[in-house]
């Protein structure tokens, strides 16, 4: 996994070592980090993405807007419906239509379930990176509860393709409301057990507190988004700053922590899982009745539109230029991980090599989502 690339003398006279970490990692996707070390301290780090680049921005110009939906979802497939939502909001803005209220609530329901499953998957890979096998098994097992709920709603476990222009594809099935309430209550109880074995475990706190510090000014200057930014004390969340879908009528808090180290970023995500559980219970109780899909043409009218949603890793935005046909003329797609690529280097520099897994994975950088 690591290989020595070169070794040169540093300014102080001793030699520095440049190693290449990757592209195969013990948990995340393929991405290379070129790290230059003086002894055991990292003095320079630069990410080398592009191993999973598939040219999706060119592919979007060749397919009509319905055929694009599976391709839009695939960069971050465990968080598929948030990306889908961003794209469909851009299309609907250009077409000038609005989905009915029941569809907006159903879209928010699937978005929150995807947020929970994405954060639990992140947590289990954190266990892999740190060698805590129980923390690898338990979140994946508990994630099954929510993935099963997603299957009841859409028919597919993670490749949903549920949100289409004009609404959603299916209605809420019978019995889903009680199941959702039961399962989210069970999940909140399980989060307390995770606290005991992992988050209050002195081995983890010794490895994560004070590691990978990112100050508030630096995070804002480099354009970080998502829980990586909220762990440094900035309360920026698209669901509160530019509310969309059913979020203006729902009641939730933006979870921030002040310290800015790996522990703060991790706890910001766990707080978000709790908020999402509360949101799911609110949505299934408050959902209005009515139609769930409106007719919409397969056409992209002339014009431009920009839309953004809060995905699990940060702000995901779609800029769409249409020329009147059925295919987009230009679709610029910037995901949360792509924005967070800028903070990988400041988080790693100054720390030990052994702190690298904790610091890097606490940003939740997903290489496939950044490369698209």
């Amino acid at each position: 996994m690591t290989s020595v690339v070169s070794s040169e003398p540093s300014e102080s006279g001793s030699q520095t070592l440049t190693i290449s970490v990757g592209p195969q990692h013990s948990g995340s996707g393929h991405m290379r980090l070129i790290i230059e070390m003086d002894g055991d301290i990292i003095i320079r780090a630069s990410p080398d993405p592009g191993y999973v680049h598939r040219g999706t921005e060119k592919i979007y110009e060749l397919r009509n807007i319905i055929k694009n939906i599976p391709v839009i979802e695939r960069p971050a497939i465990i968080d598929a419906s948030n990306l889908n939502h961003a794209y469909i909001r851009a299309v609907e803005e250009l077409q000038g239509i609005e989905a009915p209220p029941r569809a907006q609530y159903l879209r928010c329901l699937l978005n929150e379930m995807n947020r929970i499953t994405s954060h639990l998957y992140w947590l289990s890979i954190f266990g892999v990176f740190l060698g805590h096998t129980t923390m690898f098994m338990w979140p994946l097992g508990d994630r099954e509860l929510i993935v099963d709920l997603q299957e009841k709603l859409t028919g597919a476990r993670i490749t949903h393709s549920y949100i289409v222009p004009g609404g959603v594809r299916r209605d809420l099935p019978q019995g889903m409301k009680e199941e959702a309430i039961k399962r989210t209550q069970y999940l909140e109880k399980r989060l307390e057990e995770y606290d005991k074995i992992f988050f209050e475990n002195p081995i983890f706190t010794a490895r994560a507190k004070g590691v990978g510090k990112l100050s508030r000014d630096e995070a804002v200057k480099l354009g970080a988004v998502g829980p990586a930014l909220r762990g440094s004390g900035v309360d920026y969340d698209v669901r509160k700053d530019e509310p969309y879908a059913a979020y203006p009528e729902l009641d939730f808090n933006v979870c921030t922590r002040q310290e800015g180290d790996s522990y703060a970023r991790s706890m910001a995500r766990i707080d978000e899982i709790r908020e999402s559980c509360k949101l799911i219970r609110q949505i299934v109780q408050k959902i209005p009745s009515g139609p769930f899909r409106r007719k919409a043409p397969i056409v992209v009218p002339r014009g431009e539109s920009y839309s953004r949603v809060e995905s699990a890793r940060g702000e995901c935005s779609v800029y769409l230029i249409g020329d009147g046909g059925d295919k987009p003329y230009r679709l610029r797609f910037i995901t949360g991980s792509y924005r967070n690529m800028a903070i990988i280097a400041p988080v790693l520099i100054g720390g030990h090599m052994a702190d690298m897994p904790t610091a890097w994975w606490s940003i939740d950088y997903w290489p496939v989502e950044a490369d698209r």
Binding site: L222, G223, Y306, R308, Y329
Partner: protein, 165 residues
């Protein structure tokens, strides 16, 4: 007669565009507000650095959301589009201003805005490798996603066809 209440007022967006037009006059080629919270402005290529500095210091747009390019083969021009917003004031966090500049397709060279908004560094690198637009003043202008020994044309241009079955 009562005015309909569901038409949003576009005062904030109009005010931003008015201030820009007042300060820079001719350098602003086009400006309009397409929908709520989405003003757009097209700036002459040479004045882009000055306009960006004004946006950041006077009007408070301290965050760049993204940057990208577009290729208009029929009109023989390319565009570089920056989306900027503000983070410090909570009430205006929803406004996203699109700042565009039009460059001729035969000699695509513009000034880089990394000195004003450091977060556009990676986006400008990607626009360089995908469209062939050179950014003067960028600290590391090299390939980001494409493979290191790619010697073909910039892939996202409209005259580059990729085989589809």
């Amino acid at each position: 007669m009562t005015t309909p209440t569901n038409i949003p007022s576009l005062e904030r967006e109009d005010h931003i565009l008015d201030q820009l037009k007042e300060k820079f006059g001719d350098a602003i080629k086009e400006s309009r507000v397409s929908r709520r919270s989405r003003p757009e402005v097209t700036v002459a290529m040479e004045k882009m650095l000055e306009v960006s500095r004004f946006l950041r210091d006077e009007l408070g747009f301290d965050r760049a959301n993204g940057a990208g390019g577009a290729d208009y083969l029929r009109d023989q021009k390319m565009e570089v589009i920056y989306h900027v917003s503000n983070l410090a004031r909570k009430e205006t966090r929803d406004i996203i201003l699109s700042v565009k500049e039009i460059i001729p397709r035969s000699s695509p060279k513009v000034n880089s805005l990394v000195s004003i908004w450091p977060s556009v560094e990676n986006f400008e690198r990607e626009t360089y490798e995908m469209y062939g637009i050179t950014f003067d003043g960028h600290p590391h202008l090299e390939k980001l996603f494409l493979i290191d020994n790619w010697d073909g044309p910039p892939p996202l241009r409209k005259d580059v066809r990729i085989p589809t079955d």
